[in-house]
Symmetry: C2
Subunit: 231 residues, 2 copies
């Protein structure tokens, strides 16, 4: 049953069951507690991972301690595609946002698997390319949108990407602090706190400590496109 999760991974697109099985059986599982670091930016990239359970937070930390969050990686999603490229080091740091399990392939094993299943290489490279495009979009948004729009958009995306539907709205699947949300859009935790407070009184979202539920994705999406007419 649990295997279903990995079968849905973009990494396995276009591969038949036999290939998937061969690839999966070559993996070594990794178990992480919340806040465990799976890989550190700049470190030699040795292992390619696919998340089985839980979430990884991908981030970069600058010298002055400022952390920017790039994205969260959930079940079925890969991390460490650079291993396939032959590049030497991870471009960012991966931390478990909650208790997390991954499947890992060493560089040598992965190389062998990619030779046997060329489509696997294609899929991984394709992911890298998509993330490049995403990063470009991020640069564009950070430089041309206001903080309010960016926070709204971040929430919409977090809800859409791995959100858990509930009777009232969509729960964001993993714990997120105000601070992380700030790092995700390039602002401070104070500004995020103020925005969320306002949106909560307006009924757009509900939030508990480290948990956020999006009640009205539509109205949030509207905010993401044009700043609020301050009421």
């Amino acid at each position: 049953m649990e295997q279903m999760i990995q079968d849905a991974s973009p990494i396995f697109a276009g591969l038949d069951d036999r290939a998937r099985l061969a690839i999966l059986s070559a993996a070594r599982p990794h178990v992480l507690k919340a806040r465990d670091v799976l890989a550190r930016e700049g470190e030699p990239a040795r292992t390619f991972h696919v998340v089985q359970l839980g979430h990884l937070k991908l981030s970069r930390v600058s010298l002055d301690g400022n952390e920017i969050v790039l994205r969260f990686v959930g079940p079925g999603e890969p991390f460490g595609g650079v291993v396939a490229v032959g590049d030497a080091t991870y471009p960012l740091t991966a931390t478990a946002a909650e208790p997390t399990r991954t499947l890992g392939w060493s560089r040598a094993v992965l190389e062998e698997l990619m030779s046997a299943h060329p489509r696997l290489r294609t899929n991984i490279v394709s992911q890298i390319s998509r993330h490049l495009s995403d990063a470009l979009t991020r640069v564009q948004e950070v430089t041309s949108d206001r903080v309010e729009q960016r926070v709204a958009r971040a929430l919409v995306r977090l809800a859409a990407h791995g959100g858990v539907p509930t009777p009232h709205g969509v729960d964001i699947a993993h714990p997120v602090t105000r601070d992380e949300l700030a790092g995700l859009v390039g602002t401070t935790l104070f500004t995020v706190s103020r925005l969320l407070a306002r949106w909560e009184t307006d009924g757009l979202i509900a939030s508990r400590r480290r948990r956020i539920t999006v009640l009205s994705p539509d109205r949030l999406a509207a905010l993401a496109e044009s700043p609020a007419n301050r009421s």
Copy 2:
């Protein structure tokens, strides 16, 4: 002689002369006037290019007309690596910053060449991966550095990457407007103009219309690391 330029291209790393010749002879030249558009963001990616002469400006334009510049591509450098990945569309727009010549390979031809010379594929993918890493750095810088630092860093990079040494300093190799510089670091042409004016009186740079010479890369680099102590 001119072939030397392409021989130095990262695309040809690890390929012998025979392979290079085979690849080069399959190319079709493209000639662009200043401001000609080679490829548009979102357009189906059909052709992979290597610049022979001149410079391409890679940018994205948002709906409201705001342009962000990602980088400039000079002689020997590739554009359109996504063609190798099989992705459908260009992630950004390429415009000739000045009269420019490129060599182009169609998707089909490139696919064939990459099969014959696997190292070619590796090289292209490796470039994509490097650009991803660069883009992540950009995201980080835009969200945590001040405008002054970013402009200074942009100048240092433009000078280092394809700058032309002169008796007094380093000329930036291609025409850059204040507006483009603004798009490169995510600010307005006004702020850029003010900063350049100040740096010019301080003797850090010299500038003519659309041309900038970096006189003191060191002092600029210092500004990039910590904001100026306003004098």
